[in-house]
């Protein structure tokens, strides 16, 4: 009964999405006001329909209804309830349903956001129409190729287990976060197209930018959060102690993140200075295309990847078709409808030129990742041999856009719109430069030691980024009110977050230590300043697994630090054990121990790591997220109130 209801709800959502597209894009001759009312209602039906479909699937999971194929494949009666719910997005069909539901949720929030007064109405409804079209295509995709409500005629008594790797708290929220980021980029995409379709010559063609900015930031916040959670999960769960593998699936999330970052900076220029409108539209198109590309890469199973799970070529071709359709259609629309902008002379020392420059660097970075990710696939398709592009390519090649990017971020902060005074800039920048060099020398001399010129550059640039972002906040001349500080705060936080991340990456990769070692009881080994001693190996049990637990004592020469318990979990006798690493961390360093196996002679193998400043890699993005949220929830209302006051 319930799966049939879910099916029915999907069909309802499909019909609603169709009408949302039809009415929204103005294919009928009714008045704008009427369209607005109708579209808002349809969006509600569409969203509620998909939400209830999610609830139906969730109910099937929680009630162990193994007549539903998807439930039988991904859940069993022994699974804790939290993971039964998370199993909704544990595999292909359900994760697409989630993807779709989140898309409708963004449309819903967009349809009912207060910002839109009458002059935005046409822009907004048309954008909702485009969102409806995207939804419609993907409901079709789900119904025809990936139906989560497919019913088995002879249901099994017990279901298969959910991949134990996925039974983890971070993985409960990682996919929803990441998907929310991916599909959130559909909103600026829809707004950009809507602007091309509706705007007349002149002022109105820039309106979309101010609306799109907030939505881009929100999508970007979710995307950032999703990527960080994924990286954190990989670190403690995959058992290798690495935090980024340049796996195509990770690249698939990093590429839209880089272009979305470019987009949200470009929108600032378009909104404030009425410049780069075409470039912003292009970035909005590219960002969403890369979201779709990411979905395609992850879900089509064409990758040689440690992440790719389900595979079925027909699905891949369907998504690729939609990717081609939306990207191609959008680019065509841009080529046909974009109104030539008046040529403007831009001073090189202006904020707009620095933002443009850095957006080009961000796009370059995204492009370089794209090449490294797709080239092996292309070669394979042409039967020209099998290759993979290793981490060294990415690690090296990304320095080319990122080193100048970080340098220009520091410069850009001290520019003004239109024209900047070079003398004033230099007088401020020399202090920033001096401070960052001091910071770098300090880190090298007092903390970590010299580890190559590139490390020194990395630390200096991290300092440069952070100090330049802090300067406008502490400078007394330009900041005299709390309100002014609030305006700068989001930018400062985001740039400080970036600086922290760069610092973490540089220090961890330059000074981190790794050791694979076998230990007997009572034996110890030293990694850096830390001594790891194996005290004991015990057996334990959890709700649906049993485990082997090692007791490792960590100490330095003078102090005992802690005892950690790396584990090997066995969820199911037929599948191999899972590593649960033992981690002792503080802001300064991470100590990581993964238990290997019994290597005979009463010895066990261990993977040991010392990683200084590793946490900054995740704290940095977290600070960026706070910056983004500040912009949306604190700074924006402030600005709007001010506008109202000016009107009075």
């Amino acid at each position: 009964m319930i799966p049939e209801l879910g099916q029915l709800l999907l069909v309802i959502a499909m019909v609603a999405a169709f009408f949302q597209a039809f009415l929204g894009m103005g294919l009928t001759k009714i008045s704008t006001d009427q369209r607005d009312r109708l579209v808002s209602r349809i969006v509600t039906i569409h969203t509620v329909g998909l939400f209830l479909a999610m609830v139906c699937l969730g109910y099937s999971f929680v009630s162990d209804d193994f007549s539903v194929l998807y439930v039988a494949l991904n859940s069993n009666t022994n699974l804790p309830v939290v993971y039964k719910i998370a199993a909704i997005w544990g595999a292909h069909e359900g994760s697409f349903l989630l993807w779709l539901f989140l898309l409708s949720l963004w449309s819903f929030l967009f349809a009912f956001s207060k910002k839109h007064d009458s002059q935005y109405l046409d822009l907004k409804i048309t954008a909702l129409g485009i969102l409806g079209l995207i939804s419609f295509s993907f409901v079709l995709f789900i119904i025809f190729t990936s139906n989560p409500f497919e019913v088995l005629p002879n249901p099994p008594i017990q279901g298969r287990s959910l991949n134990p790797l996925l039974q983890d708290p971070a993985l409960v929220i990682h996919p929803p976060m990441l998907y929310a980021g991916y599909v959130g980029l559909a909103v600026p995409f829809a707004l950009a197209l809507s602007s091309l379709m509706t705007s007349k010559e002149g002022h109105s063609q820039f309106q979309w930018a101010s609306v799109a900015r907030v939505w881009t930031i929100m999508a970007w916040v979710f995307l950032t959060g999703g990527i960080v959670l994924g990286s954190w999960w990989a670190y403690y769960e995959l058992g290798w102690g690495g935090w980024w593998f340049w796996d195509p699936v990770e690249n698939a999330s990093l590429m839209p993140w880089l272009t979305a970052t470019a987009l949200l900076h470009s929108l600032i220029v378009t909104e404030r200075q009425k410049l780069f409108n075409g470039f912003s539209i292009l970035l909005a198109i590219i960002s969403f295309s890369q979201s779709l590309l990411g979905t395609f890469l992850v879900r089509s199973g064409i990758l040689i990847s440690v992440h790719s799970f389900a595979s079925d070529p027909s699905r891949g071709i369907f998504i690729l078709g939609l990717l081609g359709l939306f990207t191609g259609g959008a680019l065509l629309l841009l080529a046909m409808k974009h109104k030539k902008e008046k040529p403007v002379k831009i001073d090189i020392l202006s904020r707009e030129s620095f933002l443009l420059l850095n957006n080009v660097f961000l796009c370059t970075a995204s492009g370089l990742i794209l090449i490294g990710t797709l080239y092996p696939l292309a070669l394979e398709m042409l039967d020209a041999g099998k290759i993979s592009v290793g981490a060294p390519y990415f690690n090296f090649v990304l320095l080319i856009p990122f080193l100048p990017l970080l340098f220009f971020i520091g410069l850009g902060v001290f520019t003004s719109w239109k024209f900047s005074n070079a003398k004033i800039m230099i007088s401020k920048l020399k202090w920033v430069l001096a401070a960052s060099i001091l910071f770098s020398i300090g880190c090298t001399v007092f903390l970590y030691g010299y580890a190559g010129f590139l490390t020194l550059i990395g630390i200096t640039l991290a300092g440069w980024t952070m100090i330049s972002a802090l300067m406008p906040l502490v400078e007394r001349t330009s900041i005299n009110t709390l309100e002014n500080a609030m305006k700068i705060l989001p930018m400062s936080l985001a740039h400080i977050g970036l600086g922290l991340t760069v610092l973490g990456i540089t220090v961890t990769s330059s000074y981190g230590l790794t050791q694979d070692k076998s230990l007997r009881f009572g034996q110890s080994t030293q990694v850096g300043d830390y001594i790891f001693q194996l005290n004991d190996i015990k057996e334990g049990a959890g709700p649906n697994y049993f485990s082997i637990i090692a007791e490792i004592q960590i100490s330095t020469k003078d102090n005992e630090i802690t005892v950690i318990y790396p584990e090997k979990r066995i969820y199911d006798l037929n599948s191999p054990a899972m590593t649960e690493a033992g981690i002792e961390s503080n802001i300064a360093r991470d100590l990581f121990v993964a238990l290997g196996e019994n290597v005979g002679d009463q010895a066990w193998s261990f993977h040991l790591q010392y990683k200084p400043l590793l946490r900054l890699i995740w704290i940095g993005p977290f600070v960026m997220i706070i910056g983004g949220l500040f912009r949306v929830y604190l700074t924006r209302p402030l600005r709007r109130r001010k506008l109202v006051q000016q009107d009075d």
């Binding site: 799970f309 390519y393 076998s518």
Partner: protein, 129 residues
């Protein structure tokens, strides 16, 4: 203008060079045996772990096993922790280089990730055996 062009040119040169250097080619054991694989640089080799071939140095992390495509096998030596999913008869991909005796010295060993996923190359090997 010239500076920009020079910069872009130089950057492209480095990108291409790095691309060339960091491509890892993939070979099967039979290709390695017939001498198709390079001896002067790293590459990846995929196949199944020959059942009964895994040998350890007692009490150490050094391990040695045969990687097979069903017909021929190559000896692989690895000094480190093996992935959770490493088992005899299992498909794996090893990254490393050949030593002078034709033994593959692995720097990294990846196993297939769960029951549903298998690297495409390994899938092909399984089908042909």
């Amino acid at each position: 203008m010239i500076v920009v062009l020079l910069g872009v040119g130089l950057a492209s040169f480095f990108v291409l060079k790095s691309f060339q250097q960091n491509l890892l080619y993939y070979f099967t054991p039979i290709q390695v045996q017939s001498g198709e694989a390079p001896t002067d640089r790293e590459f990846r080799m995929g196949g199944l772990v020959q059942p009964g071939s895994v040998r350890r140095a007692e009490g150490s992390v050094a391990v040695e096993f045969f990687l097979t495509d069903g017909n021929v096998f190559i000896i692989v030596k690895y000094n480190g922790i093996l992935p959770d999913l490493f088992r005899e008869g299992q498909g794996i991909i090893a990254t490393g280089r050949l030593d002078t005796e034709g033994v593959f010295i692995a720097r990294e060993v990846l196993a297939k990730h769960d029951e549903n996923y298998m690297p495409p190359e390994i899938h092909k090997i399984k089908e042909t055996t």
